[in-house]
């Protein structure tokens, strides 16, 4: 059961080939046996899983099932789950059990999907390797010496290792796409405002967006159908109605114009990675798409702009963690100042503190114009680059990352080197565009991702292109060795 796609599992549940309880037990069992080597989950509540699965089975039997009823789904530990710890990968929230659900979690619950567990992540989603988690690093199922990518590294690893059929992630600068690429799975970051942010612990409010991570574009579409839609409790949520993301999956690519940004294929892209991306693009061309060279002339400013805006927003989003109302509180504070400074010293890890400090600096008196305001101006230039491109092409394609997954520890000591890993993914968040990563080959046994970028709210087209690609290729069907060394 564990290697089936979500689409296959839905069919199996409805054909009574297996029950949701059986399905859930299968994944609980795999997590119990295999996750020790990967560390992709932070919290799994077996009895809650089985109770929900039992209820789902009844609902299916009663004929009132929704598409995802009975399907176990793992959630990044950034989404608040009523009655279940939500740590955000941080010591600060190690004891935090929210008395409410994120909007997205509520949608999955109403659909009858099973919350399989909460997945590991970089602390407060700040990282590209999942090494900043308070709960320890996650291993890449393809090679345990490699990082799974981040920040949704636990979700990516769990799906790749078939510890969950699908998962949710969040993407502020590539945190769905980069781990999807590194772990050989499919992930989509929807347009900013497409999925509610309510109840998702905020990193950078104007960049954060939740999305699905699964083993195929079709599975991502099934999950996105449940996740997308307007939330009146999120002011930045779009009122544009969500569409059926499965409806156009099979559309022909005939006449599709694909833009290849010159800047994404130049210096910095590993040669073997470039080769694989190129052959993936040839496949799309073979299906009738036209490849057009385009330019995103402000690409070189993406990393600096992002690393001002994201830390600036994060620095104040994280001010609420003060030891007063929830979460970590230092022992025996001597005064209010001590309560604040020591709680935050102890509760936050090194990378989170660095970003808070950088963000505080960028917003402080005398530096605001040179940093924050400047970065917001550059942000507009970057968005305009995309707008110009989309006058010539329907989607943009390129590598998700400069190369495959790197070794655990290789960059953890050098923040700037780590930041450069996000070179191709950040601009999408700055411009609020939808972007996805799909498996496109292997370099030395390490997966690679092809990134597709669409116009605002054009998720269905990205999923269509990805699905057509996956109909013609089998990169997404490759499986890593079983984590415990057994044959799967």
């Amino acid at each position: 059961m564990h290697d089936k796609s979500v689409a296959q599992l839905i069919a199996g549940l409805h054909a009574r080939q297996f029950s949701s309880v059986e399905l859930s037990r299968c994944f609980l069992d795999r997590i119990g046996r295999l996750d020790g080597a990967i560390n992709s989950f932070i919290t799994v509540d077996e009895s809650a899983v089985l109770a929900a699965a039992g209820a789902a089975d009844q609902r299916i039997a009663a004929g009132g099932a929704a598409p995802l009823t009975g399907i176990p789904i793992a959630h990044k530990d950034i989404f608040c789950t009523d009655g279940m710890r939500t740590s955000c990968g941080s010591r600060m929230l190690d004891n935090f059990v929210p008395p409410y659900d994120a909007t997205l979690i509520g949608k999955f619950r109403r659909e009858g999907a099973i919350i399989l567990g909460k997945t590991n992540m970089d602390e407060f989603a700040m990282g590209s390797s999942n090494e900043s988690s308070y709960y320890g690093p996650v291993s890449n199922p393809w090679d345990k010496r490699l990082v799974p990518g981040g920040s949704s590294g636990g979700s990516a690893a769990a799906v790749a290792a078939m510890l969950a059929p699908a998962a949710t992630g969040t993407d502020t600068g590539g945190s769905i796409r980069q781990p999807a690429a590194f772990c050989g799975i499919t992930g989509i970051k929807p347009t900013y405002g497409r999925v509610s942010r309510l109840g998702m612990v905020a990193f950078a409010s104007s960049l954060d967006q939740a999305g699905p991570m699964a083993r195929s574009a079709e599975d991502c579409a099934l999950l996105l159908n449940c996740m997308a839609g307007h939330d009146p409790l999120d002011s930045t949520s779009s009122e544009l109605p969500a569409e059926d993301y499965c409806a156009r999956l099979d559309n022909s690519l005939e006449g599709l114009r694909i833009g290849l940004p010159r800047e994404y294929f130049g210096e910095g892209l590993a040669a073997d990675t470039a080769r694989h991306i190129d052959s993936a693009l040839r496949e799309l061309e073979a299906q009738g798409a036209t490849l057009v060279e385009v330019s995103l002339p402000h690409s070189h400013l993406t990393i600096p702009a992002y690393y001002v805006i994201a830390p600036a927003e994060a620095s104040t989003n994280l001010s609420r963690f003060d030891g007063v109302r929830y979460g970590h509180r230092c022992k025996d504070p001597v005064d209010l100042h001590d309560l604040y400074t020591r709680t935050r010293e102890e509760g936050f890890g090194a990378e989170v503190k660095r970003r808070i400090l950088v963000g505080t600096y960028a917003l402080s008196a005398g530096y605001y114009d040179a940093y924050y305001k400047k970065a917001q101006q550059v942000r507009r230039l970057i968005k305009q680059d995309f707008t110009d491109c989309f006058e010539q092409v329907d989607i943009i394609a390129g590598p998700t990352t400069p190369g495959p997954a790197f070794a655990l520890g290789a960059k953890s000591d050098d923040p700037v080197a780590m930041y450069l890993e996000d070179i191709y993914t950040l601009a999408v968040n700055l411009a609020g565009l939808p972007g996805m990563s799909i498996p496109a080959g292997f370099v030395d046994g390490k997966p690679l991702g092809l990134q597709l970028i669409g116009r605002h709210f054009d998720e269905a087209r990205l999923l269509n292109v990805a699905h057509r690609f996956q109909q013609a290729t089998d990169w997404h069907l490759q499986r890593p060795p079983d984590p415990a060394g057994e044959e799967s």
Binding site: L93, G199, M200, A202, D234, Y326
Partner: protein
Amino acid sequence: MQWETVIGLEVHLQLATRSKIFSGSATTFGAEPNTQASAVDLAMPGMLPVLNAKAVRYAVMFGLGIGADIGRRSVFDRKNYFYPDLPKGYQISQFEAPIVGRGNFEIQLDDGSTRSIGITRAHLEEDAGKSLHEDFHGQTGIDLNRAGTPLLEIVSEPDLRNAAEAVAYLKALHSLVTYLGISDGNMAEGSMRCDINISLRPVGSDTLGTRAEIKNVNSFRFVEKAIRHEFERQVEILEDGGRIVQETRLYDADLDETRPMRSKEVANDYRYFPEPDLLPVVIDEAYIESVRAELPELPVQKRHRFVDQYGLSGYDANVLADSRELADYFEAVVAACGDAKIAANWVQVELLGQLNRGELALGDCPVSATALGGLIGRILDNSISGKIAKQVFEAMWQGEGRADEIIEARGLKQVSDSGELEAMVEQVIAASPGQVEQYLAADEDRRKKLVGFFVGQVMKLSKGQANPQMVNELLAKKLV
């Protein structure tokens, strides 16, 4: 040296919405601690603000009320600082693009003169919670019920020159916002709180001196006292050759002094930036016109109308137009009796007098406007004298009934029967031969004074019910 005081006020006005500015929590005053603090108000992880439409409407009403430019695209910003009553570690406020721009409004001083005071801006923001310092084993307790209550911060130009002007400004502001119905204006409950910026300069100078800011003064009387005190403090420093330190001070009403606030010692760097969880508020012409169409007549307009329509003095018009309730009451009295000047006099002297003595609000007044109008009608038709009317009013206040019932029951109706009066006049003349002689010997001017004695005697004889005009006429005829 002669010093001139320069005062600017920042008023924090709680808007009378049912729910908070960014959440669906109730704003009821006096609830049990933290029972009106939702996940949003508590800054629980992942919580997001959504703007209350009523708060926006109220801010626009205020803007139109002072003839200000309405911000067509106003932006919320985060003002960052750590304080336990500020759960997010930032206050959502407006910095660069406030919802209300420059405006001004007219205040009336006690001498009847008016001044126009500039309003720099007014912006929407959220209130903080409350810190309670009673002893919790040496700790402070935090109640976040008030956190997220909508505030309109109204910033004046440094146009005010003394405590009396500052108070007149606040009273006019209070009158305006309660007219508009955008705030309950309850100062005791903190609905209107005031920060005072005050500096001195030599008379004739046009540069501003260094200012001190006095935080959170919450009554007209304290504003007056705090300004007087701060003036004296600054004069003393300046005349000793010292310099004023720019600082935030607290007015202590118990000690009647201002002192520096310790918590504000460290210069804050608020790191304002646009609140990414909220989007710009766009207000179009149609919206503004819809708000304008619903605006009530404002205090200034009403004041001018009372002068024009009823011939009242500026002072009377100011008192009567102070609150919408009082003005409505007054106009109902006029409608019932038909004489605005007598009505104005009765409302100001008798009605307000009784209310003040009983510490009652107009809403608790036992005498309705039509009832008071009815009473005045009896003065106008000569049924009773003004003096008797006061007795009747007192009885009405005690709940003894309507004017006519009381007049009837107590037999207070004025004696206007000429035969009856003639008899009384003759009786008085007969009983006072000395005074008659004096009167007859006097010249015209002196007679006018002496006739008062006879009037008084007749009134006494009639227990005050004789029609004074008829008595005068009869005396003029008989004393020859």
